[in-house]
């Protein structure tokens, strides 16, 4: 899922299964932050790390049910690039969507975010 892009005039795209959908110009993404995108009715959170990698995960925070993951703080825990849910602060692995803090939500469901393929195209 990781991809690096540095040149201007490039766009960020997400795979839908049948093709690639354009999200926005790469430069529109603030390093170390995310944006949400609407893809065929599904909400995807797209993140750009400080080092320039891109990751895309489901936008729904499994602990609160709210669609807010794109608004979390992006960072690292050890070697793992993470995003922290802005609602109750659990950290998720940007690469796999797995929650690093609690394997399941309070009602027992697995606390992982779906991942999406993302790329930069010039």
């Amino acid at each position: 899922m990781g991809a690096t892009g540095t040149t201007v005039e490039t766009t960020v795209e997400i795979a839908t299964g049948t093709g690639w959908v354009t999200i926005c110009p790469y430069d529109r993404l603030t390093p170390g932050r995310g944006v949400a995108a609407l893809i065929e009715g599904e909400q995807v959170a797209v993140f750009r790390t400080r080092a320039g990698e891109l990751y895309a995960l489901g936008n729904r925070d499994p602990f609160s049910g709210a669609y807010v993951m794109s608004r979390g703080i992006v960072g690292r825990r050890g070697e793992v690039p993470i995003v922290t849910s802005p609602m109750y602060q659990q950290a998720f692995d940007l690469r796999t969507g797995e929650c690093l803090d609690e394997p399941t939500t309070p009602d027992g469901t697995p606390a992982a975010l779906p991942t999406w393929r993302v790329r930069v195209r010039s």
Binding site: R71, M87, P106
Partner: protein
């Protein structure tokens, strides 16, 4: 069994305990050679979380409840056959035969067949409209029937019955509970507790009938129409749920000639073996050596581990046996805290009971103390906070007088008890305090998630998590393990105060330079986290000013600061304009009213003397603020770690007791310190006389008028741990007052830890209040000129964050729900009407917590 080349283990029943058995078996290292596992299950689906079954009604799906993902069976080569119950066991041939006629041979047979709900054999008990509450299929049937029903009756007022009643109420049914015993939850709690619980349950709209049996079900036209109680009264009902207890499913074993208990349950020894060495029984179908059948999952899990261990580790291990478990339960039921533990009924000889009961407040607490002073058990209803501490102490001496443990917090101090290492902290997974301590001292675990990963403690019902947190903190401190003095792993060498000095002295203007020069990791991959980023963002904002959303700073802010608004539970935001001192003109009020009306926002007067408007989407924020700014309002920084409000009382101008103009001073202070970023939020208040109507002594800095001038109090707060402010100086004139507050705030900002409010800062720093007084009034450190200058710069460079945001299209562009579809609002943010305003539509999520 280890001597056999090929060992075929056949598990009958794939419920919660069966699944745990499979996990324990497959987790064993090394895996016994030749181990083959087959599971024969009656239900049409793999094991799922029956404990949280009720959450199915609030939207948790069967997949989400599943305990056995698709990969599990494949990964471990387990053959799971669903929907085909075992009907007979042939112990001589060592085979079982299923309903569909398949015969399967075994070396070891493990029975984990659970229980079935007991349905009293009253006339009409099988009329359509009667249900039990055990499987997902049961719930599907209840839900389908509830759609057409108005009144529901639950037979049984135990744990499960009340849970079922909660589900029926939530589906909009007029709900009754009929309990044969004279009180609810007769097993776990006593009469007094039952009375309080009953009152609370009735307050929730459930009608409770205790001491009432069911004589018959009324059948009208082939459907349930009601129920006749033992005293002859008839209750109308469209739907009946039987929850009158469970009985072990021991028929298979019984038919195969294995011993079962008088009241059911397959007889097993402390290694979960039946008299036949090739047959084991675990979970709710087993009768343990203490003569009990356990209807709770934790004892079942313990049996699963014991059983699995013998199969993989050879001869039974005398250290790993199952000889019994306690029946303690704590649950948050329909929003009511209930806990019963140990000898809850006080049956031990010569025991005494220490009791606090306040039916009005709905609180009942009882401790049972043995003749020798040991804690034997207890009942807590309405406030079960102490449960996590008390349960592990059961059986041991009480370290403090018992009354201190039952009195409400206001009457007695809340006590913290030292637990022995052997005390079981997490009863779901049987984890003792010693194990949690060892995780910290021997395995470098530093937080609760770490404990969960290492020991499984806290991953069951969650009831013990708070206690685990306390143990971890205590252990880190006691073991003198540097309680991670640094801010976080990325700035491990520096506290917040040290980073502040670095940024100040070196004039660092951004996160990149700070982490590159002072961070713990090196290289372009180095990055911060949710701890250091907002902390550094706040330091930069305190020191260098500039807009918090510009350049690198944008990435440091948490969502509230990033959208200059407060995130709400459904993903919408709230808007709080500043109303200095709480003084507002009628025009101002009308403007706020009009804006809230036009955008359909929920409005509320806050506890901080201003108005909060809730329910804005990110897209709406700029347009709302456009209108607020045009009307002269500024950001209230409700979202920031910054000055919130300076509350006022009406003061001398109007009040006949006032001795100074408290409103004018409050407004002056609020305008002076607005926008000041600090380690935590700052609150203030000004009262016009000693009657203290503005509650200044509960603020970070509070001012009270005197005949001579002003008294300044510092270090107070409300919140979780309220603390009264202390008098820093008295009878100050206006200018000295302002100067002293300037310095106090700047000294705090300079030296406090991240998220440390003035109250905890004052108690932590060496010398406490006296030291602070010496620094800010007598310039003991010679830094006052610096502090004055920093505050001067803040006052000079302040600009309204929202006005500045609106002035720059680059900043405004962030306020969209979707980067690829600007203008499209987030469809998941929805509202319904309530009391003539809106409220958020919540996401489907389990509301029964803490179990």
């Amino acid at each position: 069994m280890t001597d056999a080349q090929q060992t075929h283990v056949v598990l009958v029943g794939h419920g919660m305990v069966g699944q745990r058995f499979l996990e324990a078996l497959t987790e064993a290292e090394p895996r016994p050679p030749g181990l083959r596992i087959t599971v024969l299950a009656e239900e049409p689906r793999r094991a799922y979380d029956r404990v949280h079954l009720t959450s199915w009604f609030s939207g948790t799906t069967a997949e989400e409840l599943s305990l056995c993902g698709d990969g599990f069976a494949a990964e471990h080569g387990i053959d799971i056959r669903l929907g085909d119950p075992v009907e007979t066991i042939d112990r001589a041939a060592r085979t079982v035969t299923t309903g569909a006629g398949h015969t399967v041979g075994y070396d070891t047979l493990v029975l984990a067949t659970g229980s079935y709900p007991f349905v009293p054999p009253v006339p009409g008990h099988d009329t359509p409209g009667c249900f039990v509450y055990r499987t997902i299929e049961d719930l599907e049937a209840i839900k389908a029937a509830a759609d057409r029903a108005r009144i529901g009756v639950v037979v049984g007022g135990g744990l499960l019955g009340l849970e079922a009643a909660g589900a029926l109420t939530a589906m909009g049914l007029d709900t009754h509970v009929v309990e044969f015993a004279p009180r609810l939850m007769a097993l776990q709690i006593d009469d007094g507790g039952g009375r309080v619980l009953r009152r609370k349950i009735q307050d929730l709209g459930v009608t409770v009938h205790t001491g009432a049996g069911t004589r018959a079900i009324v059948d009208r036209a082939g459907r349930v129409a009601g129920m006749v109680l033992s005293d002859g009264t008839e209750l109308a009902a469209d739907l009946v749920v039987f929850s009158a207890g469970v009985r072990p499913r021991d028929q298979l074993a019984r038919a195969a000639g294995l011993a079962v208990g008088e009241r059911g349950g397959i007889v097993v020894d402390e290694y979960c073996r039946t008299a036949d060495p090739h047959v084991l029984a675990i979970g709710e179908c087993a009768l343990a050596v203490d003569g009990r059948v356990y209807g709770l999952v934790a004892p079942g899990y313990a049996m699963a581990e014991v059983a699995a261990r013998q199969l993989v580790a050879g001869p039974p291990d005398p250290d790993r046996t199952f000889t019994g478990a306690d029946l303690s339960t704590s649950l948050k039921l329909l929003g009511v805290d209930v806990a019963g533990f140990g000898d809850a009924h006080g049956v031990a000889e010569d025991c005494v009971e220490v009791l606090y009961s306040n039916p009005q407040a709905g609180v009942y607490k009882k401790l049972v103390i043995g003749a020798d002073g040991r804690l034997l058990g207890g009942v807590l209803v309405g406030d079960a906070d102490a449960y996590a501490q008390l349960r592990p102490l059961t059986g041991g001496p009480l370290p403090v007088p018992p009354e201190q443990l039952v009195l409400p917090t206001a009457a007695g101090p809340r006590v913290r008890l030292a637990l022995p290492d052997t005390a079981v902290v997490c009863s779901c997974h049987g984890v003792a305090k010693g194990t949690i301590r060892a995780a910290v001292t021997e395995h470098d675990v530093v937080d609760v998630p770490g404990v969960k990963r290492r020991t499984k403690a806290g991953t069951g019902c969650g009831g013990c998590v708070k206690l685990i947190g306390g143990i971890v903190t205590e252990e880190l401190a006691a073991a003198g393990i540097e309680t991670r003095r640094g801010l976080c792993e990325h700035f491990a060498r520096y506290t917040r105060a040290e980073l502040y000095e670095i940024v100040r002295v070196k004039g660092i203007g951004g996160f990149a330079r700070l982490i590159d020069e002072h961070g713990s990791a090196e290289g372009p991959d180095a990055d911060g986290c949710e701890v250091c980023k907002p902390a550094v963002g706040s330091i930069l904002a305190s020191l260098s000013g500039g807009h918090i959303l510009d350049g690198e700073q944008a990435a440091l802010q948490d969502t509230n600061d990033h959208f200059l608004a407060n995130l709400q539970r459904n993903g919408s935001y709230s808007v709080v304009p500043r109303i200095p001192g709480g003084e507002v003109t009628p025009e101002g009020l009308i403007t706020i009213g009009e804006i809230a009306r036009d955008f359909g926002l929920y409005t509320k007067i806050t506890g901080g003397q201003r108005i909060d408007m809730f329910g804005a989407t990110v897209d709406q924020l700029p347009s709302i603020w456009q209108r607020l700014v045009a009307a002269g309002f500024e950001s209230g920084h409700a979202y920031g770690k910054a000055l919130r409000t300076v509350k006022s009382c009406v003061g001398q101008t109007w009040c006949r007791y006032g001795v100074q103009d408290s409103v004018a001073l409050a407004i002056e202070l609020e305008l002076r310190y607005r926008g000041l970023r600090s380690p935590h939020k700052l609150k203030s208040a000004v009262s016009g006389c000693t009657r203290e109507c503005a509650e200044a002594q509960s603020k970070d800095f509070g001012v009270i008028a005197t005949a001579e001038g002003w008294n300044l109090y510092v270090g107070g707060n409300g919140g979780t741990t309220p603390r009264h402010a202390e008098l820093l100086a008295s009878d100050l004139d206006h200018d000295t007052l302002i100067r002293t507050i300037d310095r106090f705030l700047m000294f705090y900002i300079r030296t406090a830890d991240r998220l440390e409010r003035t109250a905890s800062w004052l108690t932590r720093i060496e010398g406490g209040l006296d030291h602070v007084r010496a620094v800010v009034m007598d310039d003991a450190l010679g830094i006052c000129a610096d502090l004055d200058e920093l505050m001067g710069r803040h006052v000079e460079t302040y600009e309204d964050e929202w006005a500045a945001t609106l002035a720059d299209p680059e900043r405004v562009r962030r306020f969209v729900s979707f980067a690829n579809a600007p203008g499209v609002p987030d469809p998941t943010v929805r509202f319904t009407p309530e009391r003539e305003q809106i409220k958020p539509v919540l996401f489907e999520r389990l509301e029964v917590r803490g179990r």
